[in-house]
């Protein structure tokens, strides 16, 4: 990968894709082009948008992404076949190119892996400090959106296909209309993006049409954090946490590990402070106050369930307790006008007192985080408290605001109502679906004479717009973005737009009267402006920028900023008391959905089938309630025949009513209900259709995050929901092993005293085990202390290994195909449970029970310790799956890759075949399995083999064929932002995996079976504060064992290195 990542440095000449662009313009080149392939050239020009043409020519022509980058805007360039292959291009070998996925409030620096011009997999950009090679779930899933067959393929006007001439005419009309009224008739509604080029074009638009309106709207990012930052730290500031510096963290309704923007750095920072490998390591401590169990809540050492409306009272009490622990004049100022509110019911004052004391005692290493959707006053209070704790500049960084302010949706709505807007251009987003319900956006939008909607996928808004413009995916277009740390990221296309897509920048530049931009010209201009470079230096810097994916900027030294506490103090008088507990007026909380975010991934099959990390729900959303609240409302969930049967309720809020199933979520705050948004989209493609209910329909401008007054009424009906894990507790089994820091310090080998491990008799081996004499011995270790359970590994594995989706019906039957899953168990008190996660993939048992039972030798061991599958030998007896104690094997009950999911039972009567575009996503190094065969994880054996080939090429005639340490990663490992998954070679003494396996807290799941798994776990270390009320001091249930009485049987019970294994097998 390293080799392909770097283009040839410019000292050897210009980079290929640049030089081709130049080369292509030379007369003799063009002459050669047209003489050599006149027919093909003509064909392509006649129908440049035909997918069929595109695919046919792609293999030979654009093939290697380097070329496709050279002239994305100039289709004629794509006719060039590789008659003269660039030196480093090896057909069939992957190439990686840097790019970035734009998000609402940040962007994720990525590498796209391409094969023969097809991007197939996203990885984090290893050079960028935020990513360091990691990515997340949505970045992984975004590749599927590129190939979504439901994408818009044509420009349409009034639902009818429009021609390029029509489009030109429309642009001219818009310009003429806007010119006549200096733009007052023009409004642009955009999604949030941190694109400096878009901001530049926007400024240009503002200059050309000063009266025009630019509004932004994101349903889940109301921007209150920016308001709070402006209040506390001054205008044009924003803040971000620096979790790697924090030792004590209190997160108040802030799911920084789950979904808030910038999760990569947050997760990475948090896990770096969490990682406890030696008893001498320090461990950070996390307090979480939140309404629903979030991923952040699962990592908490102390968790308090609290409704959002009670958080004001909680924070004021916290502020007072901080003042009590560390009296200061500024806190007196801050709290001078604060009302004296009663604590919310069920909150122990000691909890807040001890938490505050802990925060104070850690001074500038402590961090208080408050959810970005909570009221501005509370966020401002939190910033002020951070300032009082001294953490601004260390754990809370304040930086210049990255994006200009825009009009809000409400302001735009006002203008539309006044009738001044003649043309509304909607860039991305789906306001008809997700605008506040009281705004009646659909009607407003219809009242505008001309509406244009640019989006990649069809949705409710595009259906209502006059013009519907197919948008490009970020992998098809040039762009730029700012990451959460302010670094400048490049977005470069990997592939010619599959359909006639336009990017936002292209549309904007047309409206500005500019010609169609050629390649990255717009971005280059922005880049030149930002860097202030010119000439050769600009050239050099630009090349680096595109090649490495970002502009290395000098790291700003964090400075402490004074907080303006007076303005905050004034706001605090408005903090309201927490409401009474009333089952007839619940608190509605509109949360994002972990799988589909705000709804933008609703047509992404991977995400629909991706189990929600907490509820394990797929293909649906549901109203989440606590056990007690559900009971008081007479609502229940049953597991009937393996299917979650949920009561359906009629949910009424401020006169609006929807019907939705209810899922009981342990650890949810009482008298509140979480309504995840993003589902219930009927117009966003066949995958989204019919999945879940639309919670946006209850959401109003005043209640965009939470509000009181929700009534749930039983309808008496039930709905079947597909969950991938039906059983929520460990049944007292020693599966996930936990200890407190003090237990770990007392006995670093505590995992061995847990459960059955202390009782394992010495093993007698009957069969000779397979010889493990390979040059590498692969193994994986998962650190349960840092695994947040985010499930990014699941999506990464899906993308890497061509794992099919099976649909809701099949998931209900228990036939999901994920090769890696994250088991989530609830532990502790039933009322306030804790939660633990455990990723489970094939354990590659050295003594594999699946291998002995396969009658046809389709699953066998290789000499490197992998349990490999020969798919074309498998006849599908499924005996291996029965005998797998970890149940990680997956069976193709139907031809999931060849048949439509709604016609699986039709057999040969269903049309056969895969969508052409979906085929493009498949990893060519991994077999696409047919029906009737078993499949499972093989530690990404295709990557191992690829690395071996590279090692062999490098070695030439020498005997050193070893894969260098750390150069090979499995897909799950690579994606994991917490670096909880470590894979490597046990024979390599310097490898991380070898070191981790030798740690005393390393254990095998179900060790007593003596299957000798190569995937082992580091026991989870928690860091509870003993002073907290109800703190658990003992996590490790040791059956009263104080010592490990299997220590004398080390051969039998140790996590055998291969040499030990061999000894074991020859006993």
């Amino acid at each position: 990968m390293k080799r392909t990542l770097h283009h040839p440095s410019s000292s050897q000449g210009r980079t290929y894709w640049r030089s081709l662009g130049e080369y292509a313009q030379t007369p003799d080149f063009e002459e050669w082009l047209h003489r050599e392939f006149p027919a093909g050239a003509a064909e392509w020009e006649n129908d440049p948008l035909s997918r069929r043409n595109f695919i046919r020519l792609m293999g030979a022509s654009i093939a290697l992404a380097g070329l496709s980058l050279s002239g994305c805007r100039r289709p004629e360039a794509h006719l060039v076949p590789f008659t003269q292959s660039p030196e480093w291009v090896v057909p069939g070998k992957k190439m990686s190119f840097a790019t970035a996925q734009p998000r609402r409030r940040s962007a994720v620096p990525l590498l796209a892996t391409t094969f023969d011009g097809r991007p197939i997999k996203m990885e984090g950009n290893p050079l960028h400090p935020l990513s360091q090679g990691a990515s997340d779930n949505l970045a992984q899933a975004s590749i599927l959106d590129l190939y979504d067959p439901a994408r818009r393929q044509h420009l349409t006007r009034g639902g009818k296909k429009a021609s390029a001439a029509d489009w030109d005419a429309e642009i001219n009309r818009i310009r003429a209309e806007s010119n006549s009224a200096s733009g007052s008739s023009l409004a642009i509604l955009a999604d949030e993006q941190l694109s400096p080029t878009r901001d530049r074009l926007r400024a240009e638009l503002q200059r050309q049409f000063p009266q025009s309106t630019w509004a932004t709207y994101e349903p889940l990012a109301p921007g209150r954090d920016l308001e709070a930052s402006a209040l506390v730290f001054g205008d044009n500031t924003e803040f971000r946490p620096n979790l790697s510096a924090a030792t004590t963290i209190l997160a108040v309704d802030c799911d920084f590990l789950g979904s808030d923007e910038g999760d990569l750095s947050d997760t990475r920072g948090f896990s770096s402070g969490r990682r406890t490998r030696q008893p001498s390591d320090s461990t950070n401590r996390l307090y979480v106050v939140e309404p629903r169990f979030s991923l952040t809540g699962t990592m908490a050492d102390h968790r308090l369930r609290l409704r959002p409306s009670a958080i004001g009272a909680f924070l004021l009490e916290l502020a007072r307790q901080i003042r009590a622990a560390k009296p200061s004049a500024e806190l007196n100022t801050l709290l001078s006008q604060a009302p004296d509110l009663a604590l919310p019911e069920g909150v122990d004052p000691a909890w807040i007192r001890e938490c505050a004391a802990d925060l104070v005692s850690h001074g500038n290493r402590s961090l208080l985080l408050v959810g970005r959707r909570l009221p501005t006053s509370l966020q401002a209070l939190a910033l002020a408290l951070n300032s009082a704790l001294g953490s601004v500049g260390t754990t809370l960084l304040v930086q210049p605001r990255r994006t200009p302010t825009s009009a809000t949706l409400a302001q735009l709505a006002e203008k539309i109502r006044s009738g001044s807007i003649q043309t509304l251009i909607i860039l991305g987003g789906d306001p008809v679906y997700n605008a506040p319900a009281d705004m009646n956006w659909a009607a407003l939008q219809s009242s505008v004479p001309n509406t244009l909607h640019l989006s990649s996928l069809p949705n409710a808004t595009s259906k209502q717009s006059t013009w519907s413009i197919p948008g490009t995916h970020y992998l098809e277009s040039w762009g730029d973005a700012l990451a959460i740390d302010g670094s400048y990221l490049s977005i470069q296309p990997m592939i010619q737009p599959l359909w006639a897509g336009l990017s936002q920048l292209e549309v904007l530049s047309r409206i500005l009267g500019q010609p169609n931009p050629i390649g990255p010209s717009l971005i280059r201009e922005t880049f030149a402006q930002r860097t202030g470079l010119a000439g050769e230096k600009l050239e050099q810097s630009w090349n680096d920028f595109v090649r490495e994916g970002f502009l290395a900027s000098p790291t700003a030294t964090p400075t402490s900023r004074a907080a303006n506490l007076n303005t905050v103090a004034g706001l605090l008088s408005r903090v309201e008391t927490s409401p009474a507990e009333d089952p007839a007026s619940l608190e509605a909380i509109f949360s994002h959905s972990a799988a589909v975010d705000d709804g933008r991934y609703a047509n992404n099959g991977w995400m629909q089938e991706w189990p929600d990390p907490m509820t394990k729900l797929t293909w649906d959303n549901a109203i989440l309630l606590s056990q007690e609240t559900a009971r008081s409302l007479g609502l229940k969930n049953d597991i009937i025949k393996g299917i979650l049967v949920a009561d359906v309720v009629q949910a009424t809020l401020a006169g609006r009513t929807i019907e939705a199933p209810v899922v009981i979520a342990p650890g949810h705050a009482n008298f509140s209900a979480t309504l995840p948004v993003g589902y219930g989209q009927e117009l966003s493609g066949p995958v989204a259709k019919g999945a879940g209910f639309d919670a946006y329909r209850l959401r109003t401008s005043t209640s965009d995050y939470h509000t009181l007054g929700l009534q749930l009424k039983r309808t008496g009906r039930t709905q079947e929901l597909a969950v991938t894990q039906e059983h929520q507790v460990m049944e007292g089994r020693d599966l996930v092993r936990e200890a407190s820091v003090s237990e770990f310090k007392e006995n670093p080998a505590w995992v061995k005293t847990v459960g059955m491990d202390a009782h394992i008799p010495p093993n007698q081996t009957f069969y000779p085990n397979p010889k493990l004499d390979g040059q590498h011995q692969w193994a994986m270790v998962v650190d349960l202390s840092t695994c947040t359970g985010c499930n990014a590994c699941v999506t990464a594995c899906t993308a890497e290994n061509n794992i099919p989706i099976v649909g809701k019906d099949q998931v209900m039957k228990g036939r999901e195909m994920h090769w890696i899953r994250v088991d989530r168990y609830y532990t502790g008190e039933p009322d306030a449970p804790e939660s633990v996660s455990q990723p489970i993939a094939c354990m590659q048992c050295e003594n594999a029970p699946c291998e002995t039972v396969c009658p046809v030798n389709a699953t066998v061991h290789n000499e490197e310790g992998l349990n490999v599958m020969a798919y074309n030998r498998c006849i599908g007896t499924r005996y291996c799956a029965n005998n797998c104690p970890y149940k990680v094997r997956r069976f193709n009950f139907f031809d999931y890759n060849q048949r439509a999911l709604d016609k699986l039972y039709w057999g040969p009567l269903a049309p056969k075949g895969t969508e052409e575009t979906i085929k493009l996503q498949k990893n060519p190094n991994v077999t696409v399995r047919m029906r009737g065969v078993m499949e499972k994880c093989t530690f990404c054996v295709q990557r191992i083999e690829d690395a071996k080939i590279s090692a062999r090429v490098r070695a030439r005639d020498s005997a050193d064929l070893k894969i260098p340490t750390g150069t090979l990663k499995t897909a799950c490992q690579q994606a994991c932002p917490a670096e909880a998954i470590v894979f490597g070679d046990l024979l390599d003494e310097s490898s991380e995996v070898k070191k981790l396996r030798d740690l005393p807290q390393n254990y095998s799941l179900l060790e007593y079976l003596n299957v000798r798994p190569r995937l082992t776990y580091l026991g989870r270390i928690r860091n509870p504060n003993p002073a907290m009320p109800g703190a658990r001091t003992h996590y490790a249930p040791s059956h009263g064992h104080t010592e490990n009485h299997s220590a004398d049987k080390s051969t039998a019970t140790s996590h055998a290195t291969p040499t030990q294994t061999k000894q074991g097998s020859h006993e």
Binding site: R733, M756, T877, R878, F891, F893, L904, M930, R931, G932
Partner: protein, 487 residues
């Protein structure tokens, strides 16, 4: 007490009469009566009820190819299987049918070697039942695989892939065990049919019958040489079949016993499965025999004594099975292994409790009624009671297979199995096929082993009238048979 006391003499006579063995063919039926009575079943016009039943069950049997076509063309997903329950009705039905076969082989081989003469009137139909049950059984393992068109990988055929089979896999042992069992059972059954086929040939009135039965009788003339060869071969085949009775179901039980799944991984399985198979097999023999005994008025050949004996075997094996059930629980508890303890607790009280208790009721409780002589002697009561083991043995396999794997080691992957209409229809189809094949057998082949029955009639014993001591009853059967074959 003195023997010449008149009153004690009377008592002695009474006791002697009571203790006297009931003859295995009652009412002193002549040998010709036996031939006539058995052959006429085949020779008379097919009765109306036979046509009705054959059409009904033949129609049901067509569900088998229909369901298999759907299964193979569409995918194993048409069944209710999932992960973790990768085997359910398919293997349950396989073990159920293969178990039924065992009674036939036991009757024909083991009872033959142990000189149990009462076997003669029931062994023919029991063996036929074996063949048909194994046919039904074989359908499941062959078609339960995901890629049936690749099932030939199971056969040790030299091929270009140069991959040999995995001889450590019990599933491969199954392939050999079941195919051997079927082959030997078929040969054994056919060999035993030859003298009776010759009788049918000789009695045939139409050319077609003469041709067909003549061909099947392989030129049997009943010569002394024939009988000598026949007896020797039959003995050898009985010797070969006897270990098969024990081995086949032991091997089938290895599918489970050699695995590591709690509830499957049990060393008690081989004897327990064999006992269960004989238990279920005898129940099925009685289920088939009692109605045909009534229809064809075979009370003199299949006497109450036969039924009584079989009931006693059911009582014995049922109790053995009950013992095995309780031992499983004891060992699970005694092992101290929480996974084992859970597996068995879950069996009795988990989501499939109803299957477990159905099994206990049918297999352990119901056969205890056979302690009562009345229950053993009244054929209709017997028929009612044996329906319980028939059902219970299906449940036993279901309980072992499904309840063990639906909740094994990691609670996160626990699941539940529900059958689909295809599962159910296919099983009904095999029942139809089984009965259909048996109806054909009844119609076209002699359901009673005529020549052997003649050998055990009272009049076949040259000392029949002299002595009740029965010291040498089987002494002279050869010469008798020589004449019977032409009777």
């Amino acid at each position: 007490m003195r023997a010449d006391n008149p009153s004690s003499q009377a008592a002695f006579a009474e006791a002697a009469a009571y203790l006297e063995r009931q003859p295995l063919v009652s009412n002193h039926r002549p040998l010709s009566w036996i031939t006539q009575h058995v052959c006429q079943i085949v020779e008379e016009r097919a009765p109306k009820w036979w046509w009705i039943l054959t059409i009904v069950f033949g129609g049901t049997a067509t569900l088998v190819p229909a369901m298999l076509t759907y299964l193979v063309s569409t995918g194993v997903g048409v069944w209710g299987l999932n992960v973790p329950v990768c085997w359910a009705w398919d293997i349950t039905n396989f073990v159920f049918w293969i178990g039924i076969g065992h009674a036939g082989t036991l009757i024909s081989a083991i009872l033959f070697l142990t000189r149990q003469k009462w076997r003669t009137s029931i062994n023919r139909s029991a063996e036929a039942m074996t063949i048909f049950a194994v046919i039904c059984a074989g359908i499941f393992p062959a078609f339960h695989v995901g890629r049936v068109w690749m099932a030939w990988f199971l056969a040790p055929i030299p091929n270009a892939n140069a991959i040999w089979q995995n001889f450590r896999s019990p599933l491969l042992w199954d392939v050999f065990a079941v195919s051997t069992y079927f082959t030997v059972s078929l040969i054994f059954w056919y060999l035993g049919l030859i003298p009776d086929l010759a009788s049918l040939r000789d009695r045939a009135t139409t050319r077609l019958r003469q041709m067909v039965y003549g061909l099947l009788a392989l030129g049997w003339r009943g010569s002394n040489r024939h009988w000598t060869h026949y007896e020797k071969t039959y003995l050898i085949l009985a010797g070969i079949s006897t270990p098969l009775v024990l081995s086949v179901h032991s091997v089938v039980s290895f599918d489970f016993a050699t695995s590591i799944v709690p509830g499957w991984h049990t060393t008690i399985f081989p004897p327990y499965f064999v006992a269960g198979a004989i238990f279920g097999g005898f129940a099925m023999v009685l289920t088939l025999l009692i109605p045909f005994r009534e229809i064809y008025n075979l009370h003199d050949l299949v006497t109450d004594k036969h039924i009584d004996n079989m009931c006693k075997i059911i009582l014995l094996t049922g109790s053995l099975v009950g013992y095995a059930y309780s031992m499983e629980f004891f060992i699970a508890w005694y092992s101290g292994n929480p996974f084992e303890i859970y597996a068995f607790t879950n069996r009795a009280f988990g989501p499939y409790w109803w299957a477990y208790w159905a099994m206990i009721t049918c297999n352990v409780a119901a056969p205890q009624l056979f302690w009562f002589k009345y229950c053993r002697q009244n054929p209709w009561v017997v028929l009612a009671i044996v329906m319980f083991p028939n059902t219970g043995m299906w449940f036993e396999r279901f309980v072992i297979i499904v309840t063990s794997i639906h909740r094994d080691f990691l609670p996160s992957s626990w699941g539940y199995f529900s059958p689909t209409w295809v599962d159910i229809t296919l099983f009904i189809g095999t029942i139809g096929l089984f009965v259909f094949l048996f109806l054909l057998f009844v119609r076209f082949l002699p359901i009673i082993n005529m020549f052997e029955v003649k050998g055990i009639t009272p009049q076949a014993d040259p000392h029949a009238d002299e002595s009740k001591g029965a010291h040498d009853r089987s002494h002279n059967t050869h010469s008798l048979r020589t004449s019977q074959a032409h009777a």
